[in-house]
């Protein structure tokens, strides 16, 4: 009886463990560096520039070449095809620099040797003579020095700004600074290139974007895409850091493999990984906001300047997405927002969970906070007064209407479950009495646009094979980096065929199976690949139904298909029996599924369109305590409510929300990137770059999914994306810290905490507010 129950239940919308959980806890899940190496595998290591900006006067690699065990040394001269890996095809990202050093850590050459240790040590034998040039590491310095851009900026505008400001009874101007963030995927970048016959090259690498690796390797080797295969089973974390940043390592391995005829692996040490690869963009946001005496926003003028680093990489779309989110959940009658993607002599900043969206949202939350302190009311109250409407006051700065607004419902639900108002009163009372320790509480909403804003990326493919024993082979264009994509897509396929989840075999992402894939990014992995897999499964299923109908001698629409099996007239077959019957009947049991997101379009030149299929919503309430003598703090409690539509897998989604929140909190509190006077990033290892620990988790951490929510759009299973939106909620901690800081000046001054809000920044803000209040 129990058995019967077990197989009649669809695994969809149920909590299921991560597909690799058992292997991971046992240490048997294989990452690239764990794979059995082909005989004679060589190891490559990159030689890096030790100047932030310089001309290379000379580079003497003779001692490197002469070191015992060194097989080859590669420089710009050894590149067969093009010495460029710019993902946007702006041709601004050489693999090896031979004349111009643009940041400290830029690769100059690669050593290929018998062991990784030999290759790594040999890189230190290079003699490079530089002629120093002035360097710019911060966005502010870059702006002051003329503001060279890496890519075309964007401007969004809607409404009459002059009229908006004229209607405003009050105006606030400010500048907000927030830092970047290192991805700190636990598995560093790594690639293994295995040369094949003819010009073929197989890449095993840790990447969110196998197709781009394929394209880059083909470009660098000067061979067709079809000659390169990329295979990717899993990453040890990605977070955007393996969307384009793996390209360098893959092409160096491929180039070395091509030139030596042997398999070549490359894996940088953590410090080198962090010194070479791009990070989340830090922003300087200048804003001017007009509002009424009631705190109703009338006009917003904002300038989002970003440190982009030495090349464009994804900085264009990242800074675009910042603008797309500068409204967060708020209606602006008039708005003008511009991006300023600045060139700097630093790592080329790149995708990172949220992709600029968080920075835009935090900009909005910062001026909400300013308004609240100006008017002397709880920022949450100002938020409520400015939320988008549902039918009116619902047009975004990019002219897309918000048609699925549930932010008021989310806030109302969380306000109640977190007992926000009563706790806030208690905290005000506590602060009035406590001399050294002060508390703060804040509730912050998030609305996040779902889809790649580059519309053509919103497509996906999948390959479904049903074998004649009834087992199903699933391959799709998405990549598994820990987010649980594979189990979710497998749930979709199991549900489609009404078979147990265990019957679906999850396989590596492979460009030979599913071509022309998009990066697994923009929270879109499940939406796109789940839908493509469903499409593939439905194609096969339709053929199987036709065959069953033929066998049962009934019309196809009369075939009944459920978890017990397939009934067609008098005929009953299990799934496996039907699969076998299809094979006997020469029916194709394989299909390539495909999906393209409907409804979306975007015209960047006019700043108008419908770039997002739908919006995901969420909110968090954070409570903190600070020590006003040292700036140290603890996060006492956080409550999160996340709208994921109808969850495909609540356990996986909760994990994404918890992990995203903590990652966002880390970004905005303890994770600080610090460059010295010479322009070298000095926080390039976990000893100096501090991501959250278990003991940084809120002492009480309550995370819920909005079970009442359902996606208004027919996205897969009516679910919503979950990867990125919760990250932004970490800002609630900063705003709670702000309230605690503001208490030392009786909440009359907006603390304007810079981020990351380290203990240092908290203490210095306390000292500043005390001084300002004394005047």
């Amino acid at each position: 009886m129990n058995k019967q129950v077990a197989i009649t239940a669809s695994p969809l919308h149920q909590s299921q463990p991560h597909d690799s959980a058992v292997k991971q806890v046992a240490g048997r899940a294989e990452y690239i560096d764990d794979l059995v190496e082909p005989t004679g595998t060589l190891h490559a290591y990159l030689g890096l520039a030790t100047r932030a900006h310089a001309e290379i006067v000379s580079m003497d690699l003779s001692a490197v070449r002469a070191a015992p065990g060194v097989v080859a040394v590669l420089t710009a001269d050894d590149v067969i095809g093009e010495n460029d890996i710019s993902s946007n095809h702006l041709h601004d990202e050489p693999i090896f620099s031979d004349k111009h050093v643009q940041f400290w850590g830029q690769p100059l050459f690669a050593v290929v040797a018998d062991t990784r240790d030999i290759a790594r040590r040999a890189t230190k034998l290079a003699k490079v003579e530089y002629k120093d040039l002035p360097h710019l590491t911060s966005a502010e310095a870059a702006a002051e020095a003329g503001g060279r851009l890496v890519t075309t900026p964007l401007k969004l505008s809607r409404g009459d700004l002059a009229e908006g400001f004229s209607k405003s009874e009050r105006v606030v101007k400010g500048r907000m600074k927030l830092g970047g963030q290192e991805h700190f995927y636990l598995e560093s970048q790594v690639a293994l290139a295995i040369p094949g016959e003819d010009e073929e090259m197989l890449l095993q690498c840790s990447t969110q974007h196998p197709t781009e690796i394929q394209v880059m390797v083909a470009q660098v080797l000067g061979i067709p895409h079809a000659s390169v295969t990329v295979n990717m089973r899993r990453m040890g974390g990605g977070f955007g850091g393996k969307e384009t940043q793996g390209n360098l390592f893959a092409v160096v391995a491929a180039l070395a493999a091509k030139l030596t005829g042997r398999a070549v692996k490359i894996r940088p040490d953590r410090d080198d990984d962090m010194s070479i690869t791009g990070k989340r963009h830090d922003f300087v946001v200048d804003y001017e906001v007009g509002y009424t005496n009631e705190g109703k926003i009338q006009a917003v003028k904002a300038r989002f300047a970003a440190r982009c680093g030495w090349s464009a990489d994804l900085s264009g779309p990242v800074t675009d997405r910042a603008l797309f989110h500068c409204d967060n959940a708020y209606w602006y009658p008039a708005v003008e927002a511009v991006s300023v993607p600045l060139y700097t002599n630093t790592q080329s900043n790149t995708a990172f969970r949220g992709f600029g969206g968080p920075q835009g949202i935090i900009g909005a939350e910062r001026w909400i906070e300013d308004i609240a302190y100006d008017l002397g009311v709880d920022p949450l109250e100002i938020r409520k007064r400015n939320f988008y409407g549902t039918d009116t006051e619902n047009i975004t700065p990019y002219h897309q209407p918000v048609e699925d607004n549930v932010i008021r419902e989310v806030i109302a639900d969380l306000e109640k479950s977190s007992d926000y108002q009563a706790r806030r009163e208690n905290i005000l009372a506590y602060n009035a009495k406590s001399r050294v320790l002060k508390k703060g509480i804040a509730m912050v909403p998030v609305k996040f646009g779902i889809s790649f804003t580059a519309t053509w990326h919103n497509q996906a493919g999948a390959l479904i094979h049903v074998y004649r024993d009834g087992s199903v082979h699933l391959s799709h264009g998405g990549t598994e980096m820990g987010q649980g994509l594979h189990v979710k897509v497998a749930q979709v396929v199991a549900d489609a065929f009404a078979i147990p989840l265990s019957a679906v075999k999850i396989t590596a992402s492979n460009t030979g199976k599913v071509p022309n894939t998009s990066a697994t990014a923009a929270s879109s992995g499940t939406d796109l690949n789940g839908a493509a897999a469903l499409n593939g499964a439905e194609q096969v299923k339709a053929r199987m139904i036709a065959q069953a109908a033929k066998l049962g001698n009934v019309a196809p629409e009369l075939v009944r298909w459920d978890y017990s099996g397939i009934t067609a007239g008098e005929k009953f077959l299990t799934f496996a029996q039907l699969a076998h019957a299809c094979w006997m009947g020469r029916v194709q049991l394989s299909a390539a599924g495909f999906y393209a997101t409907p409804k979306i379009h975007w015209d960047r030149s006019t700043g108008r369109g419908h770039p997002f299929y739908y919006f995901a919503y969420g909110a968090a309430a954070a409570e903190v305590t600070i020590d006003t003598l040292t700036g140290e703090y603890v996060v006492d409690r956080v409550d999160v409510l996340e709208d994921v539509g109808r969850s495909l897998n609540p356990a996986i989604d909760i994990g994404q929300v918890e992990g995203g929140f903590i990652q966002g909190m880390g970004w905005l509190t303890t994770e600080e990137l610090w460059w010295d006077q010479k322009g070298e990033l000095r926080t390039h290892a976990p000893s100096t770059y501090k991501i959250p620990l278990a003991s940084d988790m809120p002492a009480e951490f309550n995370v819920r999914l909005a079970e009442w929510s359902i996606n208004k759009e027919p996205a897969i299973g009516r679910s919503k994306a979950v990867g990125e939106p919760p990250l932004v909620l970490g800002y609630s901690v900063v705003e709670a810290l702000s309230m605690a800081v503001a208490s030392v000046a009786d909440y009359t001054i907006a603390p304007r905490l810079e981020m990351p809000a380290t203990p240092e920044r908290v203490l210095l803000a306390v000292e500043r507010l005390r001084k300002e209040a004394a005047h």
Binding site: H18, V25, L186, G237, V436, D627, E632, P686, P692
Partner: protein
């Protein structure tokens, strides 16, 4: 003449290992992954900070008791493993068999996402469960201080950790059921001989005793002494320095004692933070918080107070409180000992009062007389497992009139060495222990310290916070300031 053995001998999971040819700087992680093909332990950082390579090392203590501790394999040298039982993730469950209770809890509570940190987390939780099957929330967090996870936000791991005992009891775990036989095997390996392998830079020396160490080091003053390798490990994995030959002192019995001698606590140079904790906190309860915030558990299991002093770092966490308490350090050179106040050992950045062939043998700390106030504060960007921005210790004795009779203040992170604040101390002495009375001392900090701005903190923060710590110390001694506490459910 000391007996010499020319092999390293240990047990790896179930297997006896004898190595006669291994480079001095070979790390355990490279040995496991490259030499043994055991790929379950991962390299996340190669500096002992992320914990993805966490394994257990079981050793016999002075009383012959077998104790397992977590260590980071990435900065553990093979010379540290003689007569040890090394347990890796592969030992926990057979390939096709049932998962270990720790592993099953992690699966059921969704404690892994990308999975790369997971083997290390499992090993840390395994060690915790064996010694504390029903851990408090605080105990779980402490045991995970040395493990970074970038995916989960830790909640699921935390929940799994609290639930492990519902999956199984340590009494039936193989490390418990096989304890006697492993103990016997390790006892057989521990022959009391000096161990020497290799030659030149690749040479490994494990002295048999303190006297043997004194002899060997005098003969080889260019060798590098390795205690826990929690710092020296990075000289190899990060700076690729050629630091051989290596003299490993972590297992020398005569350096591993800690205990009271009269009104002093005497700590051997080889006593780890973990082993020292009970005695240290019993003598100085004010150091409990600091102690649990020094690095992570894997590092505390290996790092020693002696090495924290010997390497002379300006940001070591133990010198400030030890200086404030008036500790002495005893050095040994070829069997000739001398003792000096700890504060005098630190001469300048990178320079200590230590001659060639001379090593730190012990530290002696006077117990705090009744009625004296003492406190120690560590400031860091992240609360746990972070290097101090500043670490300060304060000690005052008040006279009958409520005035300061004597004061000792010392800070790390504020100067090129751990340093006493003599101007601050002078400004305190004779003044009433009141808010107004300490004002001059607060103002004297810039005389003692002109800190640097670096990646950990700005000079402004360091100075302001240090001044405020004196205020905090005063407020706490007079019951007017609470400490920031994290109350985890």
């Amino acid at each position: 003449m000391t007996e010499i053995r020319t092999t390293l001998r240990f047990i790896l999971n179930g297997q006896d290992i004898v190595l006669s040819d291994v480079p001095a700087t070979r790390t355990l992680l490279d040995y496991l992954r490259l030499d043994c093909g055991l790929k379950g332990s991962k390299e996340g950082c190669a500096e002992g900070d992320c914990g993805a390579c966490t394994v257990l090392v079981g050793k016999l203590d002075a009383t012959g008791l077998l104790a397992y501790e977590t260590v980071t394999a990435c900065i553990t040298f093979m010379g540290q493993l003689d007569s040890a039982h090394v347990v890796t993730i592969e030992h926990l469950s057979p390939p096709e068999g049932p998962l270990h209770p720790v592993q099953q809890a992690m699966v059921d509570y969704h404690g892994s996402q990308c999975g790369f940190c997971t083997p290390g987390i499992v090993m840390s939780l395994y060690a915790l469960w064996m010694r504390n099957p029903q851990p408090s929330g605080k105990a779980v967090e402490t045991s995970l201080q040395g493990n970074l996870c970038r995916c989960t936000g830790y909640k699921s791991i935390f929940n799994a950790a609290r639930a492990i005992s519902t999956y199984g009891r340590p009494e039936t775990d193989t490390l418990v059921t096989e304890r006697d036989s492993i103990t016997a095997r390790l006892k057989a390996l521990k022959d009391g001989a000096r161990v020497e392998l290799g030659s030149g830079k690749a040479r490994i020396i494990l002295p048999a005793s303190v006297d043997d160490l004194a002899t060997v080091y005098l003969e080889n003053p260019g060798a590098t002494i390795v205690s826990g390798a929690t710092d020296v490990g990075l000289w190899v994995t990060k700076f690729m320095r050629d630091i051989g030959p290596l003299i490993f002192i972590g297992d020398i019995a005569g350096l591993r004692d800690i205990g009271r001698e009269g009104d002093r606590l005497v700590i051997g140079a080889g006593v780890t933070y973990t082993r020292a904790r009970a005695e240290m906190v019993a003598a100085f309860p004010q150091l409990a918080e600091l102690w649990d915030r020094i690095a992570g558990e894997q590092i505390r299991n290996r790092g020693t107070i002696g090495a924290n002093i010997a390497n002379g770092s300006p940001i070591g966490d133990t010198p400030p409180p030890l200086i404030a308490l008036g500790a002495d350090v005893t050095l040994n050179r070829g069997g000739v000992r001398r003792t000096l106040p700890l504060e005098d050992f630190f001469i300048a950045y990178g320079k200590q009062d230590r001659q060639a062939g001379e090593f730190v043998e012990s530290v002696s700390v006077p117990l705090l007389p009744e009625g004296e106030h003492f406190a120690c504060y560590k400031l860091s960007k992240r609360r746990d497992e972070d290097i101090s921005s500043a670490c300060g210790a304060f000690r005052v004795k008040l006279d009958g009139d409520g005035k300061v009779a004597s004061a000792r203040v010392a800070f790390g992170g504020m100067a090129a060495t751990p340093k006493r604040a003599k101007a601050v101390e002078a400004a305190l002495v004779g003044q009433p222990w009141t808010e107004a009375g300490i004002a001059a001392a607060v103002a004297a900090f810039p005389t003692d310290y002109q800190p640097l701005t670096d990646m950990r903190a700005s000079a402004e923060y360091r100075l302001t916070a240090a001044q405020n710590l004196l205020k905090r110390f005063f407020l706490e001694t007079t019951g007017r300031a609470e400490r920031l506490v994290r109350e985890v459910a």
